[in-house]
Symmetry: D2
Subunit: 293 residues, 4 copies
């Protein structure tokens, strides 16, 4: 099929279950909420080499946050509940509580599964319980006043590894399309792009170096297209980007895949959209492009 | 003493030795170099709870980078060489190599101590050695072309924990001053602010909760000023921020402390500048404000 | 009355009728739509010395624009229809048509009063009519492809001069509150802040220089508070900012005044909110703070 | 000749004398200096339809401004001295004096030709003379304290219309290259790009509509390439952007042309760089690409 003149391959993204936690970070202005969110979700592109996967879900206007201040919703993903809890605790403690004027709130109050994030002991006895926006929070005296934080967060069985590939006739085209896709996905609730754009695709293992758990996926590399027999890079394509999406449920992955592709194909110079999988034997979720679009 | 009408306390910052590594990240435009640098230096405010300390040193114009593209210099700090190497490897592998159009170069070619950061095995045999800007690099085929990277980086015995405190009559004043200080420090080579602004000061241990390794430093908390006998918060001060500086040498810490304080005292509403220490018995470095200013 | 602990004076803003035109500017990405919108609405703070008043109303997601691309809605205001038309023509011709990848659409298709903005003659015969998103547009060949533009725009009898004043204990507090107010107003449809923050209030005429049509309103100047008998600056206030709002109707002025004040009073260090008028004899519109809040 | 694999045509830019004035705008932080500078230089792309040409020359660190605050240097250009003075007066009065925490300083203290910009009457007798950073300024009480301004500015015979064209295989490539060129030019002192990127080239007059003073230059329009006999658009080029540069002297135009082109050719997908002229009979200045590069 074609979308806006761009060929779409009949492929599917293969994805995996992952635990997800949403934290709402607010601050005195959007700038400071965003800065704390950025620090807290850094070094979190891929669970392969990072402690977790994390990213900004979306900017929240003051009218949508518990304390009526500008905010940012962030999502954390990990394979296990224990790992997820550990990372949420560390990242809130080191990268949010320490930042100017922040407060944090549970972003999934309706979830049944829950984790404790007990930071209030940091108050050394000066902390106290306080209701803010209908939430049971702890107020901890710090240098710029009081840090306000909920300490119990909902978690859900989410999905990691939703994806699609953008192939363009040159880097600027593919990069602008990938950037436009990520911007569009930012408007879809329930998901985030932890990378946010992937420039280097991996395959499991390595043909040459047996000690490597993963190595470059030569089939998607334009510069060695002529040397790879089963290359997936069409003629005329000079740059490929992958958008990897983690979502709290299948609907979020589908909606964001659709929004991202629709934004990408509007950029001139895009040749092909496809998706990545391992043949369908590894991941329990399959997101078929033709069904989604 | 006073500076621009703001009282400066006769105090000193107590700081500690730490290994430092500088990486130059370039990309097709400054935007993309900055995005990779931000991801690679996230979750790295304090070595207490983060895997390392890291931050952006400064933006580099194309004329100052090995490959003539826009760049960003980032600094990584860790207590041990092994930890430093491990973190530089992971962060370059997961957060830079994977990002659009990036290349990395050694930022301390003159340093005697060196670490290897061997990412080229990712190329699975398609990688090759290539000279770029007079540097011996590896070119690894990836989806948007070739990732270019040096694989040997200089490290030096740097310093962590340079600091000063900004006390203001309200949050906006103290926060604008802290932000101005960080912006001024961004112009000083050889240092970075990993937090970049600290809103919650810590003391070693806890009086109430014996299981806590650190807890809020109640002496610097304005909201409980009346309940803390030996408070360091002067009357009329409602917000305190700490600027923590890691530098590659003493000169960098001194220059950045001076630049930061001079920027901060220009903001109306600032009442006092001081520095933090543990009495001088723990850290081998003492940065005295009166000598620096 | 008090709001969030900040005193609100029982005052009203006195405002005036003004013709208003809304233009939707789209581009390949939000960045480029925003750049064109910024250029087109520059040198347009006050109709006193600028050719018109203009500003960005709000950012539009791709889903809300006629051509499905990211966009920005801008508003132009002028006292007369002829002046308004002249300015919309010049600003679209010089600052939007000339900018990368732009298209423009009528932002008030339902308005009865209309102005023509005929730019298609620029096409020198190569232009042609084209329907885009259900709108009758002209496509003009230019260097980056085709400029797409509607040429008939709705105008309405709007209102200029809605306002409120923010008084703070120092510049950072008042400025952060003013900035927060403007950000909140950006979320309210139908209005914009052409300045966007006013740091210098005027009075009609001058006591000392008879040739001046307007001069500083000494009653709102903190530095000369002691020398002005009828000063309106309360003790302890060091900085005053005025937010001036132009809106397409009374509802927009009211909603934005409310949103702006509610955002401003959340910032620590704000002492008083009031509004400006000329005694009620000049302008036909009176926006009373107590009624609005 | 070729540069980085991109063909450079043996062409020249034809430019014209123009009066130039540089104003240094400072503020409490760079953000606010930039905001005032942006407003003051808006609606100023081309002197054809705008009151003047204006743009940001460069960001100034606090160490380079008279009052030691962050600043922005802006340049104004006009054909006549009278028009230039009128525009500098209006734009400083309406768009800088009115903005938060601004001060303005003469950016060409060494120039012999000078214009007066008397804003101090706005002070209505409360203004007074004050030396700031060795400059004779007026201090005018306004709502956020005192506006500080020099009132005598150097002007020089500068040059308008330096230019070059970037032709790319698609819009994203040409646009990224144009953006990179403008960023590189921002680092060259003495010049600015008023547009800053031109997407619509003009020719003098119109073949079809005799009442038009200018119309689209069909020779540079990719979409009608097949219908224009003497098209200058090479096969495979889908997007053309022009960078127009105004400079205070020939050296600035040359240096910025060189810097801009060198940045542009580094972007993949660029096919040709050329320059625009009217045959050499109209403008007294000719900037030959081959001599400059």
């Amino acid at each position: 099929m074609e979308l806006n003149g761009v060929q779409i391959e009949d492929e599917f993204a293969e994805a995996f279950p992952n635990w997800a936690c949403r934290v709402i970070i607010t601050a005195i202005t959007e700038k400071w909420a965003l800065q704390a969110a950025t620090e807290a979700t850094g070094f979190a592109t891929s669970a392969i080499g990072c402690p977790c996967e994390a990213g900004i879900e979306r900017i929240l206007p003051a009218s949508e946050t518990p304390d009526g201040r500008p905010g940012v919703a962030v999502l954390f993903f990990a394979g296990g509940k224990k790992k997820l809890k550990e990372q949420v605790v560390e990242r809130l403690a080191e990268c949010v509580l320490t930042q100017p004027t922040t407060a944090v709130f549970d972003g999934m109050p309706e979830a049944e599964e829950r984790i404790d994030v007990k930071l209030h002991f940091f108050g050394d006895g000066y902390e106290y319980q306080k209701e803010v926006g209908g939430r049971n929070c702890w107020a901890i005296p710090i240098m710029n006043g009081e840090y306000i934080g909920e300490e119990n967060f909902g978690i859900v069985k989410g999905i990691a590894g939703g994806n699609f590939f953008i192939m363009g006739e040159n880097i600027p085209a593919a990069l602008m399309a990938a950037d436009a896709a990520v911007a569009a996905i930012r408007n879809v609730p329930g998901c985030m792009c932890s990378f946010p754009i992937v420039a280097s695709g991996s395959k499991v293992g390595s043909n040459k170096y047996k000690f490597m758990a993963a190595s470059t996926n030569e089939k998607y590399c334009p510069t060695i297209r002529d040397r790879v027999e089963d290359t997936k890079v069409p003629e005329g394509v000079k740059a490929v980007y992958e958008i990897v999406i983690d979502g709290i449920d299948e609907a979020a992955i589908k909606a964001s895949t659709k929004a991202g592709i629709e934004a990408a194909v509007k950029i001139p110079g895009i040749k092909l959209i496809t998706a990545g999988n391992f043949g369908g034997n590894l991941g329990p979720y399959q997101f078929k492009l033709y069904e989604i679009l």
